[in-house]
Amino acid sequence: MTHSRDLSKSSKEQPIPVNSGQSGHQGLNMEEALLFELDSKGKSGVDLPTVPKFENRLGSVSRDSNIGLPGLSEPEVIRHYTRLSQKNYAIDTGIYPLGSCTMKHNPRLNEKLVRLSGFSGLHPLQPVETTQGALELIDKTASWLKILTGMPAVAMSPAAGAHGEFCGMMAIRAALDQRDGGKTSRRRVLVPESAHGTNPATASICGFIIDTIPANDSGRVDIEAFKKQMGDDVAAVMITNPNTCGLFESDIIEISELIHEVGGFFYCDGANFNAIVGRVRPGDLGIDCMHINLHKTFSTPHGGGGPGAGPVVLSASLAPFAPLPWVTFDDQNYSLVEHEIKPTEKFPIGRLKAFHGQMGMFIRTYAYMLSHGKDGLAQASGDAVLNANYIMENLKDLMTPAFEGPCMHECLFDDGFLRGTGVTTLDFSKAMIDEGYHPMTMYFPLIVHGAMLIEPTETESKRSLDDFINSIRYLAKSAISGKKEKFIGSPKFTPRRRLDETRAARSPILRWNSVKAQSNESDEAKTNNL
């Protein structure tokens, strides 16, 4: 078997008793039961009119039994979810230094505008005459994306970054098939070993085989190795730029020349676009397509895990393969092309999701773009890179940077400075939580041992950065000087201590009221009345 990293060593310490009041709460740190445990039969938080007696037309499939949903009043629902929210860390709470996630401030203006009834109340299948403003907004947003990237076309419908990757790789596959007379024999896609997992996963779904490109000592693609891997059977290369080590791929123009020479395509993963937006146009680097994470560079909120949006900018050679639908303008009116019309110069790869795309994220993005303008965007990328270098500079004497030299919008350390301390990257990150910080990205990219990838973004003030730096320095010093007790068993101040992920995976309990769930509560928990 291949070597894999172990991240799941659970603490072998004895469980620590919980100091709480009689209620199980600890001041504002409150316990909250599951919705289903707060149920009262027949209660509802909504008043709906009584339905007059009528003969239904449900045929033989009328529901004949209870679903089992819990009933609560509005005050109880609000209290329940308010208490839940208070257990979450968020950007609104503090810095979120997750590398390649670009956790920047989510402007509230964007939330206000999305809720205008002229947008929220629009049905996607209304006659296009009645949705001209919406189509115009999509078109204008698309236009900004094309100008910022220097690319002639953009597919707006992908629902997330990974979905956008799928879109781009499908377009490449379609272009190759067409060029090679029906079905291309090119199967190889080159992906750096530092790439995010979605890259190889996506390439697989498009029928490609992955070939890994090694990184060199400076954390960038090893151009000599890359040249050796070139061949007539290469369909594409997928490069993140700046890469997942936070470094600009300085050989990128040569890479694009090489891949084009052999007849392949250049897919760019735009996850790190925030480092260069307004200063560099990826189109000038020779890319053929790039997905843009609107929830990263363009501030649409992460919402606890989604929704995202991943429009894909396309070169002239890939533009004909953009998926349906797209917006058109004939000098007077906007319209939507939702079906293939033959004969045509366009060969859409099909449709990626129902309807037109993540409209709610387009509105937020457009508001963000208008608010920043070209000057604001350039300032944002500049500040993002400055912030990351400031952090790097202030930590590099204590911690071990993975690579020499300045970084872009994120800085990368390995666990070299923890060697011999008995403290792992995992322990370090859990201790950060006690200090009041969400940990940085850990153990990614895989090419760096015990990686710690820090991306502050441009919306952190200098004071916020200084506070963060001070805490990290304090923790680093504590680890190096052998104060293991700070780390082992952390976090200690959070609503929950370290959770048993092994248990969760070995005996999955994925819903309330399965038999396993009821028998698995520990006796301790019952005694503490939690």
């Binding site: 078997m1 291949t2 070597h3 894999s4 990293r5 172990d6 991240l7 799941s8 060593k9 659970s10 153990y443 992920e501 092994t502 995976a505 070995r506």
Partner: protein, 125 residues
């Protein structure tokens, strides 16, 4: 244990006649952490040496297991589906994965013996 052989990917194979019992080493389970699931092949599948035989999953990692020799799978360790922790507790014994009818015993000559494997893993650390 004297005829046990080891691969560089940390699988072991031990012959009982021409049935080879296959598992992963203690070193491997140490690296993986708590095993939560093991994906095993169907009985009857024929494998060539180095073919993917199954997958071991821990909480944060998944590792492919490769066939140390060519042959046909004649038995799989059913215990592992209800008790994957056997791989952690006794990788060398009760945590075995499959038994295969080895077609060419000579293939095992290319693999490391216990002494060679011990120095191999020392070199990794």
């Amino acid at each position: 244990m004297s005829n046990r052989r080891y691969t560089e990917d940390h699988e072991w194979i031990e012959l009982e006649g021409n049935i080879g019992v296959v598992g992963i080493t203690d070193y491997a389970q140490e690296q993986l952490g708590d095993v939560v699931f093991v994906e095993l092949p169907d009985v009857g599948i024929r494998l060539t040496k180095s073919d993917e035989l199954g997958v071991v999953e821990s909480v944060k990692a998944a590792a492919e297991i490769y066939a140390p020799a060519s042959g046909e799978v004649v038995e799989v360790n059913e215990e592992l589906s209800s008790n994957p922790s056997l791989v952690n507790d006794d990788a060398d014994g009760a945590g075995w994965f499959v038994k295969m009818h080895v077609t060419n015993i000579d293939e095992l000559n290319d693999l490391m013996d216990e002494v060679a494997y011990s120095s191999y893993i020392l070199g990794l650390q």
